[in-house]
Amino acid sequence: MNFEIALVWESLPKIVEGMGLTIELLLISLTLGTALSVVLVLMRISGIPALVWPAFLYIYVFRGTPMLVQLFIVYHGLAQFEFVRNSVLWVFLREPFWCAIIAFSLNVAAYTAEILRGGIQGVDRGLHEAGRALGLKPYQRFLHVTAPIAIRLSLPAYGNEIISLLKGTALVSLITMYDITGVARTIVARTFAPYEIFVSAAIVYLCLTWLIQRGVGLAERRFGRYVRR
């Protein structure tokens, strides 16, 4: 098997061009999705059936179906309805970029909600009681007691989610956009050199993954200052 290292270097600049879109998609949908996930997890643990069930259902559906399907439903599915096409929404939905943002954010929210729930379970019950005994309101308890500890416990899994999303954004190549994978696939189909081209893509992804892993590590240290080691 002949591996042409030159092809790797040749294709790298073109692939890096796709990086801008990847990062843009990642940051926007991560922000929106995480915000939504906080709402979801609060509903999920609220103990109020009217809130628990919708949240549960949402998480179930979005974790239960592939992200590809969700993307296609937003992109192709909605476009099939005449009224969608005639509404103002079409300004956004016409654009693959916004379809991707919508689908990814909704998806990330479901997964992150579960991750946060795991972290929240790790917060000792005695601490809730201490907060209550001090007269803190529920939202204050959540913000100042539960959240800082739960965040520390969730961070490693949240790092996973960021990296998954990074890789997941590759699906946009199916709806006519050129991210890292989109560019790579284009070159592969033309040159018929999957190893070399995917290795270049891997180099770009690895750099981003490494950055994310570092960033999460720093955040963990920040949130875990109090832990005795």
Binding site: L127, A130, K137, Y226, V227
Partner: protein, 249 residues
């Protein structure tokens, strides 16, 4: 604002079960504003359970509990208002691990009393000094010794200057010197008119400070009375043997 004659804490035939096990079997108690009550009794007799019911960390199953004129019921909305006025020191301390000692003290004054940061810090340092650990202010709980943790826990609830304080064995992790110091602080608070319920076996404190001593056994209050009569002539057999242990010991 409130009728001084009305009891600030009223327990009326309160029961509490954990599954099949009944931890409180009809406890009745009236505590007037400013009273100091010492609760003692063997391990597992329901002392912690009782004071946890008073600020509704545990929901009682039967009977009534009224705190400062507000009855604690399942539908209660104003539980936070009650809790603002009821401080508690836990047997297990329950310090916030992610906050330093001084931050543990500052949290509630800042959030509940809306105190500015600087003022809250001064207040916190004041109480840390009173329990002799100002130099530990910036350590996290995991870096403190057992006794230091307990003192932070005490100082934390004092910072809120609540009308009612519930202490659950507040001196268990302390050495005799420090016990004296802490009891002195509590004595001062008592003198300032704070209502207190203290689970403790420090009978010296009970003698000098308490208005009322309660002895619990197996989920019931088996004997109560002012310290003079309580220690001098306990009527109940169980109380007698228990006090016998303390005094000979």
């Amino acid at each position: 604002m409130t009728d001084p004659a009305r009891p600030i804490i009223l327990l009326d035939r309160v029961t509490k079960s954990f599954g099949a096990f009944q931890a409180l079997k009809g406890v009745s108690l009236e505590i007037a504003r400013g009273q100091k009550v010492v609760v003692c009794g063997p391990s597992g007799s329901g002392k912690s359970t009782m004071i946890r019911c008073i600020n509704r960390l545990e929901e009682h199953n039967g009977g009534r509990i009224v705190v400062d004129g507000i009855e604690l019921t399942a539908s209660i909305k104003d539980i936070d208002a009650v809790r603002r006025e009821v401080g508690m020191v836990f047997q297990q301390f329950n310090l916030f691990p992610h906050l330093t000692a001084v931050e543990n003290l500052m949290l509630a004054p800042r959030l509940v009393r809306k105190m500015p940061r600087r003022e809250a810090r001064e207040l916190a340092m004041h109480y840390l000094e009173r329990v002799h650990i100002p130099e530990q202010a910036d350590k996290y709980p995991s870096q403190l010794s057992g006794g230091q943790q307990q003192r932070v826990a005490i100082a934390r609830s004092l910072c809120m200057k609540p009308q009612i304080m519930l202490f659950d064995e507040p001196t268990s992790a302390l050495d005799p010197e420090m016990i004296k110091e802490v009891l002195d602080v509590m004595g001062e608070l008592a003198a300032e008119g704070m209502t207190m319920i203290v689970v403790t076996h420090e009978m010296g404190f009970a003698r000098s400070v308490a208005d009322l001593v309660i002895f619990m056994d197996k989920g019931e209050i088996v004997e109560q009375g002012p310290p003079a009569t309580f220690f001098a002539n306990p009527r109940n057999e169980r109380t007698k043997t228990f006090l016998g242990q303390i005094l000979t010991h």
